[in-house]
């Protein structure tokens, strides 16, 4: 058997973090802030330096997807997105017809903005709708109503976007199964191209977690949340949407290519404060603080050429980077499984073998047997996949591989 642990494909995804939100939602623990809008111009300058830096050193990789996440990227004033995208095109090798996604909030989008976004080359929208029930939207502290969401979606279609994803949340305080079914049915009706359904996690330190701990809001029932997940599966089963990941459904051919990069454990560079990256078998992230991020990027010389450096050097000398971790082969295997099993395509013996030069059945013999025994996984002609039950207990499966 040929062992070639150096196999790495040469594609790259780019994530750009926009750490600004008009207001901060009470459940959110993302690295995003409200009230620091005055930093935006300096932030754009900084991220353009960062793009230059990484573009120089990673220009042997070709970029397939670009993702503006946040925060609320759509909240950026006009002109800035364009400047950032131009910089990406200038310093990175971009494949033809890349997938370029932007996350939007339904309330800061109008026809002008949409037309502008379309002009910049962005071709995929991801709306944080979360619910189509106004009471639940209030509990979530969202700035939009269900009507705002429906209108924004219609306008986006008018502006010519033909790849639109909607995010919804279940397992919310006070949410009933009927409310959830209604939201889903309404969503299907307006015919988006992609759906992401996430269970609310109560993150430590968030205002929502605190309200629940102090019994101001009832704690969501996790058994009910499980029912909601199962119900969503049933509702979507007889539609055009295919489940391609534990929490994601899309029309055929409209999977999120960007998120597939993560799940297939491939390379990406995350820029902006708190951005996470995985290149050259190394995981690392930028510091969270936007102010510090801007400050440290002042030290990067915009006129210097960085492309001669070794990859490890570029990572080490980047002043915004912290938590650098080299991923050993064994850990890479575990991560590949943890991520890949989320996908309905599963993990094939062949792809594992191709990547690691080893048989997945030899390396993880016991773990696989246990998971199959518990009815959480199946081996379908050499491809390992989670069962429906396995989707609900994915952690129990992943745990066995670490």
């Amino acid at each position: 058997m040929m062992i070639n642990p150096e196999i790495q494909d040469d594609s790259l995804s780019i994530y750009i973090h926009i750490p600004f939100c008009q207001t901060k939602c009470p459940y959110c623990d993302f690295n995003t802030y409200s009230g620091i809008e005055s930093l935006i111009p300096d932030y754009v300058k900084a991220i353009n330096s960062e793009i230059h830096y990484w573009g120089d050193s990673l220009n042997d990789l070709s970029v397939r997807t670009i993702f503006f996440g946040g925060g609320t990227p759509s909240y950026l004033p006009e002109g800035h997105l364009e400047s950032i995208l131009n910089q990406v095109y200038k310093f990175f090798q971009i494949e033809s017809a890349p997938e370029i996604t932007i996350e939007c909030n339904p309330n800061d989008i109008d026809t002008d903005k949409l037309t502008y976004l379309r002009k910049t080359g962005i071709n995929r929208l991801s709306f944080g709708v979360q619910s189509l029930d106004d009471n639940l939207l209030t509990i979530l502290g969202r700035r939009h109503s269900s009507e705002d969401a429906l209108t924004a979606f219609a306008k986006a279609r008018e502006a010519g976007f033909n790849n639109i994803s909607l995010d919804f949340m279940y397992g919310l305080p006070r949410q009933t199964l009927t409310q959830w079914e209604d939201t889903l049915n309404q969503a299907i009706e307006i015919n988006p191209d992609h759906l992401s359904l996430y269970c609310l996690t109560l993150e430590p330190g968030t205002p929502m977690k605190k309200s629940i701990d102090s019994a101001n809001i009832p704690s969501p029932d996790q058994d009910l949340a499980a029912d909601m997940y199962t119900t969503a599966n049933k509702i979507l089963e007889n539609t055009v949407y295919d489940q391609y990941e534990i929490s994601n459904w899309s029309k055929p051919g409209l999977n999120s290519l960007h998120n597939l990069t993560y799940w297939r454990n491939k390379q990406y560079i995350g820029m902006g404060p708190g951005g996470h990256s995985y290149v050259h078998k190394t995981r690392f992230n930028n510091i969270n603080s936007p102010r510090q991020y801007i400050k440290r990027l002042n030290h990067i010389d915009p006129n210097k050429n960085y492309n001669k450096r070794l990859p490890s050097q570029t990572i080490n000398t980047m002043p915004t980077v912290e938590n650098i971790e080299y991923i050993e082969s064994k850990l890479e295997m575990s991560e590949t499984i943890m991520l890949g099993l989320r996908l309905s395509e599963g993990i094939s013996e062949e792809s594992f073998n191709h990547r690691f030069g080893l048989s997945i059945h030899e390396v993880f013999k016991e773990s696989i047997a246990e998971a199959i025994d518990l009815g959480l996984m199946i081996n379908e002609n050499g491809t390992l996949k989670l069962t429906d039950k396995g989707n609900l207990f994915s952690n129990e499966v992943f745990l066995k591989f670490f």
């Binding site: 996470h276 971790e325 943890m338």
Partner: protein, 609 residues
């Protein structure tokens, strides 16, 4: 040095009354430790001692002190205050002529104060009463002084007031040590050294901590242990300053250590008398009562493959903790492990923590049990320290359980509350004594504030179960207690079995009083229901006596276990979350296909809540 310039003394007190802090001040004022090197409770060097802020092992230290032109050698032994380690106090006392009795000026006499004073009196020691913490606002030195006079017959002039914190009164104390404590007396020329403690050093073998009563000893001498007959060439002798420091010779009256090079602690037992091979003594010193463990529990590696690691770890730990006993045991539920005997629950906890910390083990400790005496129908009498070893009911004629003599010190207004708790624990009242005659004390207007000593007899098994917590909470923290084994008494006892997912889990079985069995079975099952995490399937939990199920609960099946969305490629965080879950699972034991956490095995300790 002539023995009349030597003073040997222990510091004894109830827990936390400031023994180790007082030792700090003595070390400082005598220049044994420079103020630069001084840390709080400098003698408590064990990691667990520092973390918990208590003394676990007794420790000796030699100090020098000049008084009116003469140099004195002062040997101090600091002792632990916790009741589990009471044996350390009697060992220390046997090595001394005097004892400093420390009493906290905010608390007065407590249960271990009494116990320790009686011990010192048994040893015929000179006791120097010291009222400590007088720097505190709430201190009541006059009242505590009166209490000491009335309870033990000290005179007003005898009592010394100090603050071990700010150092006031320490000079007076030193003067009293020199004046009042008699110098050691020697009777013979032949070496007699009492081994009052020991330690194991990988290079020096067993290191005996000794008090020399007669003769002298130096490196190279050939020593003989009088009880075991073991011989060895002495590798090193020295003093504690407080670090072990080599010296040329140890002479009669001194306290120090002897490195024996022996590889087996059993060859150099604590309490034995050490003498010289070529000029042996024929009169051993009075030794110690052998230690009797009070509590027994199974120790199992969470990962069955680590059984041998655990065995080695226990062997090594025993070299430093003579109170620990163990023997191999097998459990149908938990596999191979060891039945261990401990002096009490704190001792048990400390042993578990030391094994995990110092040897990197993940351990599971089963429900603790006391040692019962069982008479079988064939007349044989056996000791049973584990419910699993109990013979079937039809083969038992009688079961006896260990009974404690329990001393509780509490303000009079709580007598009713204490009576209630003790009665609920099947205790019997023996006597009551006022520590303080109220009419003499103007500072105590209310007789309900004066303190009493309550003596009871109660089954050890009941006192183990959260008795102390209840006592503390019902008396607002004012009660203190001390106990010792009184004897054995027949009782109607039954074995309560626990079934998890329809399988009996032997490590959860317990022996309970018949009349309490229904209630305890019910409570235990309810607690287990909350302690055992939900599994992917429904899990019934039952309590049974013989074949009769007396209580049942069901742990509902878990419906999902998924991680939230993986945002912006932060895979590391996800992995860390998984690793944390995996870590949590490691701390659980799989019984059948159910994962049972450590807390479940200790649930019986809180059955009476």
């Amino acid at each position: 040095m002539k023995t009349d310039h030597i003073r040997n003394f222990s510091i004894i007190a109830h827990i936390d009354h400031g023994k180790s802090t007082l030792a700090d001040r003595l070390l400082e004022i005598t220049g044994t430790v420079s103020s630069r090197d001084m840390t709080e409770q400098i003698m408590d060097q064990m990691e667990l001692e520092r973390e918990r802020g208590i003394t676990i092992k007794g420790k000796a230290v030699k100090m020098s002190y000049n008084k009116q032109g003469s140099r004195f050698q002062l040997n101090l032994i600091d002792t632990p205050g916790h009741v589990d380690f009471g044996y350390e106090v009697s060992r220390a006392l046997a090595a001394c002529e005097g004892a400093i009795l420390v009493v906290d000026a905010t608390q007065g006499i407590q249960a271990q104060t009494l116990a320790n004073v009686y011990l010192a009196m048994e040893h015929d020691m000179t006791i120097i009463p010291v009222v400590n913490k007088i720097d505190l606002q709430v201190a009541q030195p006059a009242r505590v002084s009166l209490e000491l006079q009335q309870a033990f017959g000290f005179t007003d002039e005898e009592i010394i007031f100090v603050s071990a914190k700010d150092g006031s009164g320490i000079e007076d104390l030193l003067a009293a040590i020199i004046e009042r404590i008699p110098p050691p007396k020697t009777e013979y020329n032949e070496l007699r050294a009492l081994v009052f403690d020991s330690n194991y050093d990988p290079y020096k073998g067993v290191v005996a901590y000794v008090r020399l009563f007669d003769g002298h000893i130096e490196k190279g001498s050939q020593m003989l242990m009088m009880a075991t007959g073991s011989k060895a060439d002495i590798l090193e002798v020295g003093n504690f300053l407080p670090r072990p420091t080599q010296t040329s010779v140890l002479a009669a009256g001194e306290v120090g250590y002897i490195a024996t090079g022996l590889k087996n602690v059993r060859e150099c037992r604590v309490g034995d008398t050490l003498t010289l091979t070529n000029n042996p003594s024929t009169k051993p010193l009075p030794g110690y009562q052998p230690l009797k463990p009070m509590v027994f529990a199974g120790l199992y590696p969470s990962d069955g493959d680590e059984y041998l690691v655990l065995r080695t770890a226990l062997e090594k730990l025993q070299l430093n903790d003579a109170a620990l006993v163990y023997e191999p045991e097998t459990s149908a539920a938990l596999g191979f492990g060891f039945r261990c005997g401990f002096l009490g629950l704190l001792h048990m906890e400390i042993v578990q923590e030391r094994l995990e910390r110092e040897y990197g083990l993940n351990l599971l400790i089963t429900a603790p049990s006391v040692r019962y005496s069982v008479t079988k129908t064939d007349g044989e009498e056996i000791e049973v320290d584990s419910p699993a070893k109990l013979p079937p009911t039809h083969l038992i004629t009688e079961m006896k359980e260990p009974i404690l003599s329990l001393n509780i010190v509490v303000p009079a207004k709580f007598i009713g509350a204490v009576m209630d708790i003790v009665t609920a624990k099947r205790g019997e009242f023996v006597r009551m004594e006022y520590l303080q005659n109220n009419t003499l004390d103007e500072s105590v207007p209310d007789s309900s504030e004066s303190r009493v000593l309550l003596e009871y007899r109660a089954p050890l098994s009941e006192i183990l179960m959260d008795f102390y917590d209840q006592l503390k909470s019902r008396t607002h923290g004012y009660a203190s207690m001390d106990y010792s084994i009184f004897g054995y008494k027949a009782a109607p006892l039954v074995k309560l079995d626990i079934l998890v997912n329809n399988q009996p889990v032997d490590a959860l079985s317990l022996i309970v009083h018949k009349e309490k069995s229904l209630q305890q079975g019910k409570t235990l099952v309810e607690r287990l229901k909350n302690l055992i995490p939900r599994q992917m399937f429904e899990v019934p939990v039952q309590a049974a006596i013989g074949n009769r199920v007396i209580s049942r609960e069901t742990i509902r099946a878990l419906r999902k276990n998924v991680l939230a969305k993986c945002y912006g490629g932060d895979i590391t965080r996800k992995r860390k979350l998984l690793e944390k879950q995996a870590e949590g699972k490691k701390r659980m034991k799989r019984v059948g296909n159910v994962e049972i956490p450590q807390e479940a095995f200790l649930a019986i300790l809180q059955l009476d809540r």
